[in-house]
């Protein structure tokens, strides 16, 4: 399973751009807000009054915001929390418990990927419940307080608008957090309980494995032809599956892993009794293993592709790409078999101390066949390591090639010895073996991993995350908690948006607009793609007029430019120029618009959980936490101005 958003930008690389975007958003909102404020006052009281009013609000805002009192804010948060509790919001937890208690009845128990199924159900149910809960709590609270006039006794005390906003965000955030903590433990127990099972040995299936040839160890024959050297068999069918195993004996004992089925395997141990008669009792089977993994991958910092001519291959935006094989999903880029083409991963700072004898690689490659060939045999590829030189074309020291057969549709493990045969810069074998993590690392701490396909007429698809070095796994429970933090961030954002809209809209309309924000946020990436055509440099795409023109004229070049080039009529020239400007501003507005909403799709970490990948705190969670904080800050500040300039009474 491929998780596309695994490759987050490193935190320190993300931070400056994010801060810049934050400052830009604040500035634009300040200017826009001042303009709207000016126009609304100027309309009724004239421009002089409007300037005074806007300046008055803006200048007083700074000390007002600075004077925010934690005691008052927490008092208001406590009231919001009590209000929600007295409204019996924890009934939602009970509903969730019911779903979890009886949910397993309705789950497809014969599913091949039960972990994916269980996690999807748990996260799906939690997401809907927490969205509804936070939505209903946040959008109706302030309008109800205004309607019931309870707000009168609040705003006639020395309470600042920001305290009212933050109090609500904190109060409802606390309720949501409590809900999520309870639900998280219930979910974890549900997943663990639902997926654990026990197998017994199917006695009828036990067969002896006999030696086909004499087995010699240290010059001594330890087994003659026909001697029993192990046992093979099956487990009983439990939880709608059974496993096969083969155990080879050594001094009357042996243990082995079963085959991998339904996202797990078991370890079967056998101790042959003194009388030599193996029964079901001679075997012990472990609980399911490998089901709940949290792999910690170290990804390459870069991927480059070498073209057929042996030169770095790039597209028109400067991004290094391989061959486009026509697949709509453009995650993978392909290299041709039996050619110079290669995919090159550059790993940085792989510490030699972290890996003893082997470098544990995991591969997640895609295959594209031009000829059917032997479908049961995978496509052959080879990897080797190279010391980075000034460019991909310049020769450098490298290791010998490690051939392997690519396994499609699964994560393939490849333990490559750190010490491999070496080739010098002329391509001659070196005398001694070379240490990949020492001898092939350049001054910058980089080492290159090259992949080539050796089957002609076949292609291998690769992306930056397709090959990584796997370090020891982290705690699965911790990863579960991190995925819930993703949900928590979503909840906080819904609350912040709900409270924000409720400062100037009534309850039902606030609910609709918040819901719309969630939907737009979920499709933010698509909106952004429309505005930028998916270009890496985020350049604006063409606008709707140009797009319509291209559809009508069936051209893929710039239609407006072409028409403009063909005409000398000044009216038409200016008209076309105006249309181009309209196009430009529409696309610009679309891109700005997409930035106004948080990207909810980035906050769903359940994919990483089901695929068994660790959620990186610094590169994945922390940026999202800070982004959410930024959104809460901006929505709260804008809400402050709405509430400050709003007449509470009617």
């Amino acid at each position: 399973m491929i998780v596309e958003n695994q490759l987050a930008i490193p935190f320190l690389q993300w931070l400056p751009d994010a801060l810049l975007a934050f400052v830009a958003v604040i500035s634009v909102l300040l200017v826009l807000g001042s303009m709207v404020g000016f126009l609304s006052v100027a309309f009724r009281q004239g421009p002089t009054e409007a300037v005074y009013a806007v300046a008055n609000v803006l200048f007083k805002a700074v000390p007002d915001v600075m004077a925010t009192s934690p005691r008052r804010t927490f008092a208001l948060a406590k009231i919001a929390f009590y209000e929600a509790m007295r409204n019996k919001v924890l009934v939602a937890v009970l509903i969730f418990l019911l779903v979890m208690l009886f949910g397993s009845w309705f789950l497809d128990s014969k599913n091949d990927s039960p972990v994916v199924l269980y996690i999807s159900v748990v996260f799906g149910a939690t997401t809907y419940l927490i969205f509804l809960l936070s939505l209903f709590l946040s959008v109706f609270s302030l309008p109800n307080d205004i309607k019931n006039k309870t707000i009168y006794t609040i705003v006639t005390k020395p309470v600042r608008p920001l305290e009212i906003i933050l109090g609500r965000v904190l109060g409802f955030g606390a309720i949501g957090s409590l809900f999520l903590v309870l639900v998280m433990f219930v979910s974890y127990a549900f997943v663990q309980r639902g997926l654990t099972h026990e197998h017994q040995i199917n006695v009828d299936s036990i067969e002896e494995i006999t030696a086909q040839n004499p087995i010699i160890q240290n010059g001594e024959v330890i087994a003659q032809i026909g001697d029993t050297i192990g046992y093979r068999g099956k487990t009983t069918e439990d939880a709608h599956h059974s496993h096969k195993f083969e155990i080879y004996l050594e001094e009357g004992k042996g243990s082995a892993q079963t085959d991998f089925k339904s996202d797990h395997y078991h370890t079967v141990s056998l101790t042959v009794p003194d009388d030599g008669i193996v029964t079901a009792d001679s075997f012990t089977i472990s609980p399911p293993q490998g089901m709940f993994r949290s792999r910690v991958p170290v990804y390459a910092s870069r991927i480059d592709f070498l073209g057929r001519n042996g030169e770095r291959s790039v597209d028109n935006t400067g991004k290094s790409v391989g061959i486009f094989v026509g697949k709509e999903w453009m995650y993978h880029s392909y290299i041709e078999g039996g050619s110079e083409m290669a995919a090159v991963w550059t790993f940085k700072d792989l510490s030699p101390e972290s890996f003893e004898e082997t470098l544990p690689l995991e591969l997640n490659l895609s295959v594209f066949r031009l000829s059917k060939g032997d479908m049961s045999r995978g496509i052959a590829g080879e990897i080797y390591f190279r010391k980075p030189s000034s460019s991909l074309q310049v020769k450098s020291e490298e290791s010998v090639r490690v051939p392997f057969i690519v396994k499609e549709f699964e994560i393939q493990s490849l333990a490559v010895p750190r010490e491999l045969g070496g080739l010098d810069i002329q391509g001659n074998p070196t005398e001694n073996k070379i240490d990949v993590l020492k001898d092939l690392v350049n001054d910058k701490g980089e080492v290159e991993l090259w992949l080539q396909c050796t089957d002609t007429r076949q292609y291998l698809g690769a992306a930056r995350a397709s090959i990584y070095v796997r370090t020891p796994d982290s705690s699965y429970f911790l990863n579960f908690v991190k995925a819930y933090i993703g949900l928590w961030i979503q909840m906080v954002l819904v609350v912040a948006f709900g409270v924000f809209f409720s400062t100037f809209l009534n309850g039902p309309i606030s609910m609709l607009t918040t819901l719309l924000s969630i939907i737009i946020g979920s499709f933010k990436e698509h909106i952004f793609l429309i505005a930028t055509s998916g270009r890496e440099d985020n350049q604006l795409s063409v606008g709707p007029i140009e797009a319509a023109l291209r559809v009508l004229t069936q051209t893929d070049s710039k239609g407006l430019d072409l028409i403009a080039a063909d005409t000398t009529n000044p009216l038409l020239v200016y008209g076309l120029s105006a249309l181009q400007w309209i196009d430009y501003f529409v696309v610009l507005a679309l891109r700005a618009f997409s930035n106004l909403f948080p990207d909810f799709s980035q906050l769903n970490f359940s994919n990483s959980l089901t695929a068994g990948y660790n959620i990186n705190f610094y590169n994945q969670l922390l940026p999202q936490l800070l982004t959410a904080f930024g959104f809460v800050l901006v929505t709260s500040l804008v809400s402050y101005f709405f509430l400050k300039t709003k007449e509470i009474a009617k």
Partner: protein
């Protein structure tokens, strides 16, 4: 309401003045006259201005900006430290609008609403005021203690002070027995009491009371009026608006009568209620023959002249007269007696 010493004292004073009004001479009647005179001498005109409206106007507009209602027209009033100021007017006269403008719940269309010399919308000013709304706009799911503790936090009171004030005020409004009950279980009278307690939590300099006696039984009403007078005696300023004219007459030093957003009358209650064209004498018992020659007797027979004042009407009569005149002559601005 639990009566403190001050309360009882104020109570007796008010009762006496009432007896006097009813014209029931009693022992030591001369003393009553002295006290009434003292009360009428109470002069706040030199005190600092606590709340003020300057040309205060409020117009409501519809969505398109068209004028819908002019709720308040150029109101100028000054409320001075230590006085009890009453706002009177029929429904829709603008008195609630005035209070909302002074509390910063509404923004003026023109003019200014000032508290302690500064704009009423400034948060800092609200540390010095207490507000009892017309109805109890409190959180029904809290009990009395939680309610006052919550409002105490809004005043940023430290925990010890908060605890002390909560205990004091619950005792003062006589709700000790029900302090753990949720407000949704309270009767209207109890809710008014807890509402009053929250208004007094910060020991405010200006207390704004909107219909303070609504929903209270006669004893509760009496106690509320006593409390208002006691607050005045403690140097607080009280602004109240009420429909219950007898209450206003009993406690207010000055009143303003609004009608249709206009100020119709403003001045001291005793001045406004004075009937100017009638002189009223009150004497001790006179000989029969002297009655026939009363005018001469007063001069020649040396009877003790106890009082010689203008009789007063009731506030209700004055109020109805203003409303009637306003209906007959719309647009007439009222007289202001400083």
């Amino acid at each position: 309401m639990a009566k403190s010493e001050t309360s009882s004292k104020t109570n007796s004073k008010v009762n006496k003045s009432q007896s006097n009004k009813e014209g029931e001479p009693e022992e030591g009647g001369g003393g009553v006259a002295v006290e009434t005179a003292e009360a009428s001498k109470r002069d706040f005109s030199q005190n600092e201005v606590v709340a003020e409206t300057r040309n205060l106007s409020k117009t409501y507009h519809d969505f398109w900006g068209r004028q819908k209602v002019q709720a308040l027209k150029s109101l100028d009033i000054e409320i001075r430290k230590g006085e009890i100021f009453g706002l009177l007017g029929p429904n829709g006269s603008g008195k609630t609008t005035t209070i909302k403008l002074l509390l910063g719940l509404l923004f003026p269309t023109r003019g200014q609403a000032l508290l302690f010399g500064k704009d009423a919308t400034e948060v800092k000013q609200k540390e010095r005021i207490g507000y009892l709304p017309e109805e109890s706009y409190l959180y029904k799911f809290l009990n009395a203690e939680e309610t006052l503790d919550f409002y105490g936090r809004l005043f940023d009171m430290p925990r010890d002070l908060r605890k002390k004030r909560v205990e004091e005020l619950i005792t003062m409004v006589g709700l000790n027995w029900a302090k753990k009950r949720q407000l949704k279980e309270y009767s209207k009278g109890m809710t008014r009491r807890i509402g009053l307690a929250q208004a007094l939590l910060n020991d405010p300099e200006l207390i704004i009371l909107d219909e303070p006696t609504t929903g209270l039984d006669p004893i509760g009403t009496r106690e509320m009026k006593d409390l208002i007078l006691r607050l005045r005696d403690e140097g607080k300023t009280v602004l109240l608006c009420s429909h219950l004219l007898a209450d206003v007459q009993d406690v207010c030093d000055r009143i303003a009568v609004l009608y249709g957003g206009d100020l119709k009358e403003m001045g001291r209650v005793d001045d406004l209620l004075k009937v100017q064209n009638i002189t009223q004498f009150s004497t001790t018992a006179l000989p029969e023959e002297a009655r026939t020659e009363i005018e001469e007797v007063l001069k020649k027979h040396g009877a003790d002249l106890l009082t010689m004042t203008n009789p007063t009407s009731t506030l209700e009569e004055l109020f109805l007269k203003i409303v009637k005149e306003s209906q007959e002559r719309p647009g007439r601005r009222g007289a202001v007696h400083k």
